[in-house]
């Protein structure tokens, strides 16, 4: 790290008014409060800069500019300048001269800011709203911007709409020699959209290739680490829930129903805590403009975890004595009293409170002898927790529902989790009730940390 730090690359983000320039900057800078975004035109009227960092070093300086609003008038004014001067002026010289004229600070005050910034930059991002057709004003705009003698990278925004004019835009750009075009929907960019953007930029401005590659690698590393963090949060949730074993003294029906409801509530709360942590990890707030694109409603899951329909939606196979379609419960197993399985299932259905099995674990021999029952969380609920949280993580990384597969499809693809044996780590967790924090504080154990680690690795392999 002893190389002298070269100054950061300066990029002006330009384009017609209301094409999503500020929105693009918010996405690239991960700063959800940069500038002001609205669908109203001429929102940005100033030039504001922001620096992008990699390993603590500023790589790029991006400058948000006001939209160009009257390119036809501007080109006309520029052409008049050429005629006044004695020598033949080339593009950039003409622009520089124009910027000193009174018109630049009067009628074309907004456009002058853009040109001034672009003239000082190493490259420009020309942002295009492909929902708009290619009009004469756009062509004039490109002519003006092209004559600034700064490499331009066109960025196509709103590419996900059905009837966009993308093909026309590509053709129009090609006619003036701009063939390297990047699709980057600022609301729902593709997973490697940023990488494509910076790679194209590196080709365009070759001398900044190294720092740009540094930036790309840094962002990839960051994304990988964040993914791992997300998985370890999910692993902690699953182990916490799998390990939970709660003894009940009183075995009559209302008490059991109460206990089951309470357990379900605690599991829901724990899941919500994990969801909040995941949202915080990806810088989403519950009222975020993008939050409605996640499979959540105001930051909470819509479908109740314990409703049988949720299970069916996820394609998780219900085993044991669970009643399908009915409002409730799974098999119910009280050894003392010697009930048959059929009777137990019927009682389970009546108990309600969602899918829950009251069962014995091997460790609770004592309890069994003393006639207690033990509540734990079914495998199916664990599967569902895992699937839901992984889907949420997927959505957070895709950042928008254009790229999001619906949860039914996602669940279908995760055959490893939906059926088959539970991961070893979860089975181990079941044998260690002291690891669960749902009822009491959890206790330390070196095995706990390594089990979380193991489960995180398992999740990263299957996801």
């Amino acid at each position: 790290m002893n190389k002298p730090h070269s100054p950061p690359m300066r990029i002006a983000v330009v384009g017609h008014t209301n094409t999503g320039k500020t929105s693009l900057l918010r996405t690239l800078t991960r700063d959800s409060e940069f500038g002001e975004v609205s669908s109203r035109p001429s929102t940005t009227r100033h030039v504001e800069g922001v620096a992008l960092f990699a390993h603590g070093e500023a790589i790029i300086e991006l400058y948000d500019t006001p939209g160009m609003e009257d390119p036809i008038g501007l080109l006309e004014a520029l052409e008049q300048i050429e005629q006044v001067g004695a020598d033949r002026l080339d593009g950039p010289a003409r622009i520089d001269l124009f910027l000193q004229s009174p018109q630049a600070s009067g009628r074309f005050e907004q456009e002058s800011k853009v040109l001034h910034q672009l003239r000082q930059s190493d490259a420009g991002f020309y942002v295009i709203d492909v929902r708009d057709p290619v009009l004469a004003k756009h062509r004039d705009e490109l002519t003006i911007l092209g004559s600034c003698a700064v490499p331009l990278l066109p960025i196509l925004n709103f590419v996900h709409v059905a009837d966009s004019h993308e093909a026309n835009w590509r053709e129009a750009l090609g006619r003036i020699g701009l063939h390297a075009v990047i699709r980057f929907d600022t609301v729902a960019p593709e997973r490697d959209g940023e990488q494509q953007l910076y790679s194209a930029l590196a080709t365009l401005v070759y001398r900044y290739r190294e720092p740009l590659e540094q930036l790309i690698h840094f962002r990839e590393e960051e994304a990988g680490q964040r993914h791992q963090s997300g998985l370890s949060l999910i692993a902690a949730l699953l182990i916490d829930v799998a390990a939970c074993h709660h003894s009940i003294d009183n075995k009559d029906k209302p008490a059991l129903q109460q206990a089951v409801h309470e357990l379900n509530d605690r599991v829901r709360q724990r899941e919500q805590y994990c969801v909040d942590q995941l949202l915080a990890l990806y810088n989403f707030r519950h009222d975020d403009i993008d939050a409605h694109l996640l499979p959540l409603l105001k930051g909470r899951w819509e479908n109740d975890l314990f409703h049988p329909q949720t299970l069916q939606l996820m394609g998780v196979r219900i085993g044991g004595g669970a009643a399908t379609g009915a409002a409730a419960g799974a098999g119910f197993d009280i050894l003392t009293g010697g009930m048959s399985l059929g009777a137990a299932t019927a009682i389970g259905a009546v108990i309600g409170g969602g899918l829950q099995t009251v069962r014995y674990t091997r460790r609770q021999l004592f309890d069994r002898l003393s006639g207690k029952a033990t509540l734990s969380v079914d495998d199916e609920i664990l599967r569902m927790l895992a699937l839901r949280q992984l889907h949420l993580l997927n959505a957070l990384e895709a950042r928008g529902h254009a790229a999001l597969t619906p949860i039914e499809q996602f669940a279908t693809e995760q055959t490893g989790l939906r059926s088959g044996a539970l991961p070893k780590a979860l089975n181990r967790a079941r044998a260690h009730p002291e690891w669960s924090s749902l009822y009491d504080d959890s206790e330390i154990s070196p095995l706990y940390e390594s089990t979380v680690h193991e489960l995180t690795n398992h999740l990263s392999e299957i996801s």
Partner: protein, 459 residues
């Protein structure tokens, strides 16, 4: 620059924050951000500051002290128990020592536990399987509450780096080494001060087995120059101890060297290995920044971007056009014009021939032409068709104003569209046009009404 202890402090703080405590203090984040280095260094700087402020550093010191005391006590106990065990095995001298039996008693459990340890070292879940280690951990849980948190942090840190098995190993081997040292000392003391006879016995095994066994066991000591019983002596020691001084001495040395070479030495070397590896690796250990509690700190301390501020501020007032109503002589007829309409014009075929069709206007030349034509022949009524799916910009609005100057009355027609793309843009057209000075009645979206007005058939 930062040591393992600081990382331990950072982990302890993280665990407490994860449990819900808020430990943040004003200057901590500022200090962390200023600190040079990567994200991990910044987190450690923060942890250092917070630990100092909250007294966690002092807790760590007490914890280390407690661990050290526990270790010394355990070592002392091991030494003493080894000593006592050796005395017990040798007995008081009245009976001859059965060499195999004695070796088995002194080394048997040790070798078995060593095998178990070797098998558990083969990677699987990190070593909760060591008995001394588990006892140690159990004792650590009995410490006062604050110190338990340090234990958690320490265990968490080591287990993430897969170093826990080495820690358990060094406890295990250390204690065993002490015990075997004690046994060795006990043996030496007893053998020096009492007279023992050495035999071997068997009911079903032949002599040759024992000769082979002792020769095998004695091979290593022999390489080191220690005098061990030769086969003749071995055969002669069957059942009845030999009276020969030399024989007794060689048997004694055999016993001592076996305990040393197969007991103390391997355990000591393993302890050295585990302890040494632990020390080296713990200096190279880095925090696992993907854990919850660190991940968000990393984002806060090394943000992806930093605002540079506004370089060209917004103007107070924007240059704004306004609808003029010049007095027009000779205005007659009606005209229809579409502005920036990319598809076919939205008006139907077969309009009243009295209406001047100015067509679709987009480029600069087309605009000039339209303005010239209207300038030459101003009209009574002008209908301007705009595309509500586009954003109204200053250029379009100024052009509309210029067009309207050549008509006594103007209406803007914003046709219905399947507002898939931008439903709000129609609203902005309305607002912008009204700001220009167009009354609400002059903005229409219905085709029939607009064309009726154009034909002069309204009211």
């Amino acid at each position: 620059m930062y040591t393992f202890s600081t990382r331990c402090l950072a982990e302890a703080i993280r665990l407490r924050e994860q449990a819900g405590e808020s430990l943040e203090q004003g200057r901590a984040m500022a200090i962390a951000k200023q600190h040079s280095g990567d994200a991990e260094q910044k987190i450690l700087a923060r942890a250092d500051y917070l630990a100092e402020q909250l007294g966690i550093k002092a807790e760590l010191h007490s914890w280390q002290l407690a661990q050290r005391s526990l270790w010394l006590i355990a070592l002392a106990l091991a030494l003493v128990s080894g000593f006592v065990a050796a005395w017990a095995v040798l007995g008081d001298g009245s009976q001859a020592i059965n060499v195999i039996w004695a070796l088995g008693s002194l080394l048997g459990i040790h070798l078995l536990m060593l095998l178990v340890w070797l098998l558990s070292v083969i990677p699987s879940a990190d070593g909760g399987s060591s008995l001394p280690g588990s006892i140690w951990l159990g004792l650590s849980k009995r410490l006062p509450a604050k110190l338990v948190n340090i234990t958690r942090a320490w265990v968490s840190l080591l287990s993430h780096a897969n170093l826990l098995r080495f820690w358990f190993g060094s406890i295990s081997h250390g204690l065993w080494s002490m015990a075997l040292l004690g046994a060795l000392l006990g043996l030496m003391a007893a053998l020096s001060l009492r007279r023992y006879g050495f035999v071997w016995e068997s009911t079903i095994l032949p002599t040759e087995v024992f000769v082979a066994a002792f020769s095998l066991l004695g091979w290593l000591p022999a390489q080191l120059g220690i005098a061990i019983p030769d086969p003749a002596t071995i055969r002669a020691s069957d059942g009845i101890p030999m009276g020969d001084e030399t024989a007794r001495v060689t048997w004694a040395y055999f016993l001592l060297s076996a305990v040393f070479l197969y007991g103390l030495l391997p355990r000591f070397l393993l302890w050295l290995l585990c302890w040494g590896w632990l020390r080296v690796a713990s200096t190279r250990l880095r925090l696992n920044l993907t854990q919850p509690g660190f991940a968000n700190l990393v984002q806060q301390l090394t943000p992806a971007s930093q605002r540079l501020g506004i370089t060209a501020p917004a103007p107070g007032r924007l240059h704004q056009a306004h609808l003029q109503h010049p007095s027009l002589h000779q205005a007659k007829g009606a005209a229809l014009i579409a502005l920036e309409w990319a598809d076919t014009p939205p008006w139907p075929e077969g309009l009243d021939p009295g209406i001047t069709l100015l067509g679709t206007v987009d480029s600069r030349e087309q605009r000039w032409q339209a303005l010239e034509q209207l300038g030459a022949h101003p009209v009574e009524r002008l209908l301007i068709v705009c595309d509500p799916r586009l954003s109204p910009d200053r250029g379009s609005l100024e052009f509309i104003v210029k067009l309207a100057e050549h008509a006594r009355a103007s209406m803007i027609w914003l046709p219905h569209s399947d507002t898939g793309s931008a439903p709000q843009r129609r609203q902005y057209w309305l607002e912008s046009l009204q700001q220009l000075g167009f009354p609400v009645e002059a903005i229409e979206q219905d085709e029939a009404v607009a064309l009726a007005w154009l034909g002069g058939r309204d009211e």
